[in-house]
């Protein structure tokens, strides 16, 4: 019996639902989120001795998960250079802007879900960590390995884009 390992697996099992939601925030797709979750769990088990008991287990897992996701993006898009997070951030933001007219005309819940899926991965993951998990900007910055100022700007952009799905007057944007 390996007590430390048993404690680790118990923590991992307990963290699975939140980790899964974080994977979902990265991928925006349930199937991909579950694939990422599976990979993250396997990697965490493989590297369990690197976790220092008493430190933030969830942050350790989230960083591991995010790195896996970035690796996945790199494999899928090997010619793209990733800076500060995800380069496709820019492309998807532009895509979201192009959808504004469509979104303004639809006020249903489905359109909001659609807009959530259309958020870029960096924006959605920041939104998840802060709006859903209730983390501070500092915590989110540590997990995502970005400055707190970037957390703040990404979060406001995420909320800004989503707010259009509510059929706003356009005054805000």
């Amino acid at each position: 019996m390996n007590t430390a390992h048993d404690q680790f697996t118990a923590q991992l099992l307990q963290a699975l639902p939140a980790l899964r939601r974080y994977c979902y925030s990265l991928t925006g797709n349930v199937a991909n989120a579950d694939d990422l979750l599976q990979s993250a769990a396997e990697k965490a088990l493989k590297r369990w001795q690197q976790y220092e008991p008493g430190t933030h287990f969830d942050r350790w897992l989230y960083r591991l998960c995010r790195n896996l996701w970035i690796d996945q993006i790199r494999r899928d898009k090997p010619t793209e250079e990733l800076k500060e997070g995800w380069q496709e951030d820019i492309a998807l933001d532009q895509k979201s802007v192009s959808l504004e007219h469509e979104i303004e005309q639809t006020k249903s819940l489905a359109s909001v879900y659609s807009q959530m899926n259309n958020l870029s991965s960096p924006l959605r993951s920041v939104l998840y960590l802060i709006a859903v998990e209730g983390r501070s900007y500092q915590e989110a910055a540590e997990i995502l390995e970005i400055p707190t100022g970037t957390v703040m700007s990404r979060l406001s952009r995420a909320r800004q884009q989503l707010s259009n799905a509510f059929g706003g007057t356009g005054d805000l944007l």
């Binding site: 390992h5 979750l37 599976q38 690197q50 709006a131 707010s163």
Partner: protein, 234 residues
């Protein structure tokens, strides 16, 4: 729209409203925004819209909980056998402060490069860690590729090759030999700090005869390595 109203093109206003929701504004900004909110209905509406997105985000993510976990995942975790050797690249940040302190204490490092050890198996040697770190640093800074340095009766370091990675940092691939195992590792000198990586070494670590070396990594010739070691010694 009065002068205090939210400016649709002012990202600063939107960021402030967003940060206000999270109670992340400085006290002065918080107070200023509250004053404006009392006077400006448009600003209040903008805040409400932003707040509404959080409700939607929570619904969006809670939907996921209604679908079952991937089949077999929880059983796989419960039945996992513990791996014996830790490896990771991302561990650098986690251990940076702790290990940096250890090495600084043991070396002083007045003129030498400081060391950040992202240690895998190296971390498992606490009683003599400081000496091992010092000995390892000495090996990295002095031993030519192809040499084997004896650290103690249970640990030898075999230096395989020196090369420049894609960022231009000089790296040294090596193998740590213990009585029970041999573990590859790569040490890279990055901005005056040695970083040791025991992760994903299939891709990273280089032997002098490696045929799979990345095009972005330049293997040093013995002459280049000798010159570089002399530079380090100075």
């Amino acid at each position: 729209m009065n002068n205090n109203s939210v400016n649709p093109t002012d990202l600063n206003d939107i960021e402030k409203l967003s940060a206000y929701l999270d109670n992340e504004l400085s006290p002065s900004d918080h107070a200023e925004l509250e004053t404006r909110l009392k006077q400006d209905t448009q600003l209040q509406q903008a805040l409400a819209k932003l707040e509404g997105t959080d409700v939607m985000a929570n619904e969006y993510f809670s939907e996921l909980d209604k679908t079952p976990m991937p089949a077999g995942l929880e059983d796989m975790i419960r039945n996992a056998e513990p791996e014996s050797a830790p490896v990771s690249a991302t561990v650098v940040d986690l251990f940076k402060h702790k290990v940096k302190t250890v090495v600084t204490q043991s070396w002083g490092l007045a003129s030498a490069a400081s060391v950040v050890f992202a240690l895998g198996i190296w971390m498992l040697m606490p009683p003599t860690q400081q000496n091992i770190n010092a000995d390892l640093l000495a090996v990295l800074k002095t031993q030519p590729s192809g040499s084997i340095a004896t650290i103690n009766s249970e640990l030898k370091i075999e230096v395989l090759a020196s090369y420049q990675d894609s960022q231009g940092n000089v790296c040294r691939s090596m193998i740590e030999h213990t009585p029970v195992s041999s573990n590859p590792a790569v040490a890279c000198l990055n901005q005056g700090q040695w970083q040791i990586d025991t992760t994903d070494l299939v891709e990273k670590y280089q032997t002098a005869s490696s045929s799979q070396r990345s095009n972005t990594q330049q293997l040093m010739t013995p002459e280049q390595e000798q010159l570089w070691l002399k530079t380090l010694a100075n």
